[in-house]
Amino acid sequence: MATILNENATLKDKVHWEPGFNHVPYMIYTDPDVYAEEQQRLFRGPMWNFVGIENEIPKKGDYVTNYVGDTPVIVLRDMDGAVQVLVNRCAHRGNLVCIAKEGNETELTCVYHNWRYDLQGNLKSIAFGKGVGKGATKTGGMPDDFDYSKNGMRRLRVETFFGMIFATFSETVEPLAEFLGDEMRENIERLLGRGMVLLGTYSQYMPNNWKLYMENTRDSYHASILHMFQATFRINRLSMKGGIKLSPGEKHHISYSIAETDREETEYDSSKLRAVKDGYTLADPSLIKSWREYDCGTTLAIQTVYPNCIVQQISNSLALRLCLPKGPEECELLWWVLGTPEDTPEQREIRIKQSNMIGPGGVISLEDGVVGGWIQRGTLRDQEKSTVVEMGGRGVAPSGEGRATEVAIRAWWKVYRECMGI
């Protein structure tokens, strides 16, 4: 990873970030140069970017469009049945090759001048490439020395893991399995190993830098405080048994808890935390009805895969999320809400009811859609000032016990600074 460990002198100069991961300059959430560099060093750096799930493209020729960072890509299954990811841009004059969000094509034809590519992105033909007419009357056409092989669509490296599709621009990044590491793979297998059924998708568009949302997902500290619903019904309280796992190198993380193990914790005395309301009962408790789905007893697991993918288990609610940067001050969160082929009708019903806790309208997670925007507004001025990320210390050692810590956030910035060279 020599290339990315290269220090980024100009940016370093602009951001002047003191050493360590316990302070984050506000500027990092708004600066356009920082944003542009992220596209190169993170999303096109030594990362495996989540771009979709296999069962959206079951048949040969099926495709969906998505983004790697803010680069438009096509995710498809080629005629050999292999998953391919191509930059959605025609080599001719740069037109989007796939206009629709999804479809099925045996080849890719650009509508502008009908340049045709196969599903691996190789340029196959050019309309009137040989000109019009024959022999003497022949006119136009491409130069004889035009090299079709050098004018294909940009194709990314692809690997899949239990139905999740990952792509990378990097030639040097380690294989996906190694990139994820044992614990991350285990958690994905635990949740998706039974296969997946897509129960729903939606998008949440947020008025904040994408990193503010990623910090939020790495932030086990806020979970039971901001989301009163969660604390009140003991879906997730910091006093439950649980912890933070970090992959080697700290790229990825898992924050997990086990509901049955709630320790008595005076901090949850409602007089002290606004997060707990007394005498707050549901008219229809079926909303939070759940079943013990995993032997390990884990009832909550939020996993992030660097840079912008989230794997979610909240009780029996399973989802994948992708946080797409849309300029320095906006981002879009794509959701895939999942079930498994083994679900009984009762279990499926429970997953559907629990879906009321997640997404842009989820009684638990709707708050995550708005805090980022508030921070964006609160820090707009004083760009040179910094946040304080010191809960649980200033280091990045995983926390075997307890989640009243921001260690996973510090770890996120450690990786960020390494990759960005600042």
């Binding site: 129960l199 998708t201 939606y202 998008s203 568009y205 901001l226 009140t232 079926s286 309208g361 859609g369």
Partner: protein, 162 residues
Amino acid sequence: MDGTANIAVDVRQRIEDLIADYAHMIDDDRLEEWPDYFVEDCYYRMIDRHSYAKGYTIGIMECSSRGMLQDRILALREANVFEPHCYRHLLSGTRITGEKDGVYTVVTSYTIIRTMQEGDMSVFSAGKYLDEVVFEGGEPKFRSRLVICDSNRVHTLIVIPI
């Protein structure tokens, strides 16, 4: 559509009034009344048109009892954290598309303008309601209300029902 052919004029009027009153109730922030517009054993669901066409079973909101509607409002009032804002419903083209065993199927287009406390307005949602209306004790009520949004995107969050 001539589902309305055999529908008595006043029935039609009262169903249209139900749908109009529902919108005023939400826009006036009288949300505690929300569940009263439904029968006990009701269904309320919000999902985008694309997902609806694909038959996805999960959307933005899913309430399968009046109790869940009450809980939504309780959460909104007591638990959820968000910035004060209000809606303005615009309704258009309410049409009764059929009637069977006293259950009227009704379609209505809607658009919602959301206004934040500092004054910025935006088109928050557009789509249509697919309703099943029954008369309970002489009063029209929703047995089922599907909100089919044209967009799969929600800006920031959605906590006030549509």
